[in-house]
Symmetry: C2
Subunit: 311 residues, 2 copies
């Protein structure tokens, strides 16, 4: 444990993209816009608002243009779009995304399964995207999926991750995300890797993306925070499952993370009661319960009445 | 983060008592015995196997005598019984429990709600139990419920907890459990309190009992371990809910904790694959899904086949 919890923890909300993309039902464009607009008012500085991927690959997010066109952008909020390739980048620039998020996997086999190309081919494609973005105001973030383990290969050598961080820096990416794509990270591993990466990147350029697949998401956030990381992805309600494990959790839950921060005194700038109200609308919107815990249990401050006869 | 994770973490399995007591369906005595016997073979050194409470108060556990009589006791395993009062202690001694666990709450209002008496009355009752146990081989453990927060009162002053630790020591209890009864603890608070308590108690006399109500159970375990605590309660499958928050989790999940320890290199002595097999029998036994995550997601080592065409 460290002694100083006064440094702000920045939460990037990913429910509108990473959360919704796995949902089997269609969420109307107007509902997506309303969700993002509510998130924009809850204090987030970064929202991953959609993706520009083939509508055949991710039909749930095929309305990326309409969503980016329809949202009420708030000053100080960066609206991020996930893009897989040059075509997606062109669409995202037209749609005025503030930041493009590109993804490859540290694991060669996961990259082939997910992207149908090698890591080297992914990096070559990113070069074209960076050339397209040069001279515009858009910033670029490179995600390294399966940083902490691969569901096909198992452990990932830290040197592979460090080489990809190097490659992203050489390409000119402004930010790097280390993603625990299927929830295989543990706090000891996270602490060691984040310390190492922060020798090379400033904290404001590094995002950690944890999944709660094996119940360790928030423990990993704390380990990364202790190692100096300050920026974390999280998903409202814990929206977004794990394609490799039906019934298992995916993304860490935003309001559970913000609640943890509040209880520990870590500033986030996010309005937790407002966030809880919003999270509690998700089961009706999506037709199922969410994995998030604080929306069910309430905050510590939500006291219960004494049982009858004792009040 | 600390550097040394070589110290064994002792898990006390509580599913047969704390897990089952909240279940609405009746679990046959033979099934309870079979569960405990399987747990005895999985490497646990401590199992809370039942309670000797009024059958009207906890009908699910009204067969405590038959359970303790029927189990195949393994050498090196301590079988613990929860007891509320002298009458329960007399029953537990007849049933040959190895250890009696007594509970009061740090919060006066929670003690009144839970036990229908004041903390002072609870302590007076414990004196009678300790007198009964004197000269026998049975050991005594005192639990302090709501140590980290009370659902009626909110925050609990650390001095109240320290006074109760003192009172337990003066009574002659061999062990003390600090319980986060409704999942209100956070890692910063846990670290500070455990450090303080371990100035007064040896680590082998201290157990931490965390709930995962707000998703912080395993983070709290790690904070307590870093502060020097070595013994933790956990429940197979995460069995046992939270009476104050329908749908919320209760006890931390044993196999999720053991998985965390394995991934971080912390020895537990527990056979995780065997534990997972056992946990996966619970939904059929109890008629609902369990909150535990690793039983659904598998271990990191359970790799997935590559998608067709990439193998």
């Amino acid at each position: 444990m460290i002694n100083d919890y006064s440094q702000r923890l920045v939460v990037q909300e990913v429910a509108p993209r990473d959360g919704l993309q796995i949902e089997p039902i269609w969420v109307a464009t107007a509902d997506k816009i309303a969700l993002i607009d509510q998130l924009s008012l809850a204090g987030f500085s970064r929202i991953e608002a959609g993706s520009f991927v083939s509508p055949k690959a991710i039909p749930a997010l095929r309305d990326g243009e309409q969503v980016f066109h329809g949202i009420a952008r708030q000053p100080g909020v960066t609206y991020v779009a996930l893009i897989p390739n040059l075509k997606g980048a062109q669409r995202a620039l037209v749609a005025k995304a503030d930041e493009l998020n590109l993804v490859l996997s540290a694991s060669q086999s996961h990259n082939r399964a997910n992207m149908r190309m090698t890591r080297e081919q992914s990096l070559a494609g990113f070069t074209e995207v960076l050339e397209l973005a040069r001279g515009t105001s858009v910033s670029l973030n490179g995600t390294i999926a399966t940083t902490f383990g691969c569901p096909f290969e198992g452990a990932i050598d830290e040197r592979v991750v460090m080489d990809l961080v190097d490659a992203y820096q050489r390409l000119g990416m402004q930010g790097v995300t280390l993603a625990d794509t299927t929830g295989m990270a543990n706090p000891r591993q996270v602490y060691a890797l984040v310390r190492r990466v922060l020798e090379q990147l400033p904290a404001e350029a590094l995002t950690l993306h944890f999944h709660n697949t094996r119940g360790l998401g928030l423990s990993n956030v704390l380990a990364a925070y202790e190692a100096g990381a300050r920026r974390f992805d999280a998903s409202l309600g814990g929206l977004g499952g794990c394609p490799f494990a039906p019934g298992a959790s995916g993304n860490i839950c935003t309001e559970d993370l913000v609640n943890l921060c509040e209880e520990m005194g870590i500033p986030t700038g996010i309005d937790l009661p407002r966030l809880l109200d919003l999270s509690r609308t998700l089961p009706a919107l999506l037709g199922h319960e969410m994995p998030g815990q604080v929306a069910k249990a309430g905050r510590n401050a939500d006291l219960h009445p004494l049982p009858p006869g004792l009040g």
